[in-house]
Each structure stands twice: as structure tokens, then as C-alpha cells.
Amino acid sequence: MALINLSKKEIHCKIVYYGPGRCGKTTNLLYIYNAMNNQARSKMLTIETKGERTLFFDLLPLNLGKINGFNIRIQLYTVPGQIIYKATRKLVLKGVDGLVFVADSLKVRQAKNMESLQDLHHNLLDYNLNTEEIPIILQFNKRDLVNTTIPTLTKEELEIDLNSELNTKVFEAAAIKGIGVFETLKEISKRTIQYVATKHLSINH
């Protein structure tokens, strides 16, 4: 649910990073937080367990500058990936305007990726939303492990598992090193703003 403030000329959008537990959603936000200057970002809010796993959500508000005189403010959220937190994930999805699905490249996480994507579809459906309407992009994370001895999935395998139906843009990333993080953010921000703006304002790019 975007909020368009015609008085302040501001557009607020909510982008949610979704994906299985330990795939790197919070790592994406942390990298963005550390890389951006204070003018563009606000305080990052984290609700985590003692083991540093996301319990409820992380929130990073960003100010992306102006388009057609409107200040673009984006709030990046993550969800807790672990299966038991299904209800929490659904709550965080409330009012979502754009989605990044972060997939884990580790071979052992193949089933978890698919399970999480299914869970996303179900949760969206509960809000009468679907991935054909809401902008979504895929990020294949941990690609820095491909050339190591750790068994990983190929890009093609991940495409077949996750992108056969979505048919969306894919970014390869190593969030811990910052590779692909801003490319992902840039693309989802662009698509989300376009989605919100074309719905309500006469801005087409």
C-alpha cells in the first residue's frame, strides 16, 4: 500500500526482501545501510533473536531523491525466513509494493528456496495480491561460493526452480561482499515506483 502525500509531495513505498532462512536478506540491507550516506538513509531497525536471526523484521528507510517533483521514500523490510514464522511474514507483507526474492545458492537449500517461494505466493494470495501484479525480482545470493568446494546450484538450476513461472529479472549476488546488492535495489526501486506512479500519477518512467 503506497502512501502518496500530495501536501508534502512525497511517495512512500514498501519493498520486502523475502526468502528462506539464512539466505542473506538482512545482509543485503546491512550492506545498503553501510554503503549509503546519512542524508539518503535513516536509522536501521532490527528485531532479532539472541542468535542474530531476524525475529520479526528489519527496516531500512531510504530517501531516493525526486521524480517529477515528488520525493521518493522507500522502506526496505526483510521477513524472518524460518518456516515457523509464517504468521510474522504475512504481517510484514501487509501493504507491500515491491518484492525481492533472495534465493540461496547452496545445494542443500534447494528445497527451502522453493518452499519459501510457495509460501510467498500463499501469503500474497491472502491479501488478494499476486506476483503478476506486484513487481518482483529474483536475487541468487552467495554466488561467491560457486568456485569453492561447497556444493552450489547452477544459475540454470535456480532459474528452473524459481523463475519458470515468474519470468522476471534475475541478479546474481554475493551480498556479504556487496556484489549485486545495489543492482537489485536499483531495479526493484525502479519497478516499484513505476508500478505505484502509473497507478496514481501521470509519471510513466
Binding site: 500500500m1 500530495l6 512512500h12 514498501k14 531497525l45 522502506q75 501487509k94 501493504g95 496514481h200
Partner: protein
């Protein structure tokens, strides 16, 4: 959940109503937020330095969580929540389907007064927002 488009006239009117009903009564801060955690409008005393973005996100989440608790005991949701602190307390009230009014007040203001004023204010805000959506 439909997008919320705020016009200047509705925002100005809402702000005046909040100022008159709550800020003048001694309340520290009032936030009107939506269920996605966005700040619709914030009214506070000049010397009040508060991270409204984080507060709005957490307040919306808090409301969502308690709605789930309500369902477990057979209720749809709890229309108002109240947390008592040592010095400051916080009161949350649902307004229509999409909005939440968050009121932060100190010991100088009674909970009864806040509840009364919020109940009156809720009707006015609901009416104003019904015109734009």
C-alpha cells in the same frame, strides 16, 4: 489494501483536529499511521525528538501481532491497545480499516481523557478520510 492518497486539505484538517483534541490537552506526540507502517501525519511538541519512522513501523507490527492474538481468543482484533510506562505511556487506536492513531502521553494526562478524546477524534478522522478514498 488500497493505496492511500493524501490531499493537503484532508491532512491540514486532520492535523488541526489532532492539535485541538490531544496536543492542547498536554499529550506529547500523536502519530496517525497506516497499517503498512507509514506515517500519515505526526503532531508533536517542538522539543520532542522522536524517530517517528521506526515508531510507525513497530506500532503497525504491534497492532498486527495483537490482532493475531485476538483471533486466537475468538475476537476479530483489539480496537485499542495501551502500554503503561514509568513516565510515558502509549495508546493505540484503530480508525476505520487502514489507520492507527498512536498517542504518547506523560503522567500529567489521564488515560481516561486520552480515551475520550481519541474516541471523538476517531470519528472526525474517519469522516475526513472517507472523502478521499
Amino acid at each position: 489494501m488500497a493505496d492511500l492518497i493524501l490531499t493537503k486539505s484532508v491532512l491540514d484538517k486532520t492535523k488541526i483536529e489532532i492539535e485541538n483534541a490531544l496536543i492542547r490537552a498536554g499529550v506529547n506526540t500523536v502519530l496517525l499511521i497506516d497499517e503498512a507502517g507509514n506515517v500519515v501525519t505526526a503532531c508533536k511538541h517542538k522539543n520532542c525528538d522522536l524517530d517517528t519512522t521506526s515508531l510507525a513501523a513497530l506500532a503497525a507490527a504491534n497492532f498486527g501481532v495483537t490482532a493475531q492474538i485476538a483471533k486466537l481468543i475468538g475476537e476479530d482484533d483489539f480496537a485499542l491497545l495501551f502500554h503503561k510506562g514509568k513516565k510515558d505511556s502509549i495508546h493505540f487506536a484503530r480508525i476505520s480499516n487502514d489507520l492507527i492513531l498512536v498517542t504518547i502521553f506523560g503522567e500529567n494526562v489521564s488515560l481516561g481523557l486520552v480515551r475520550l478524546r481519541v474516541a471523538q477524534l476517531a470519528k472526525t478522522i474517519e469522516k475526513a478520510f472517507a472523502q478521499i478514498n
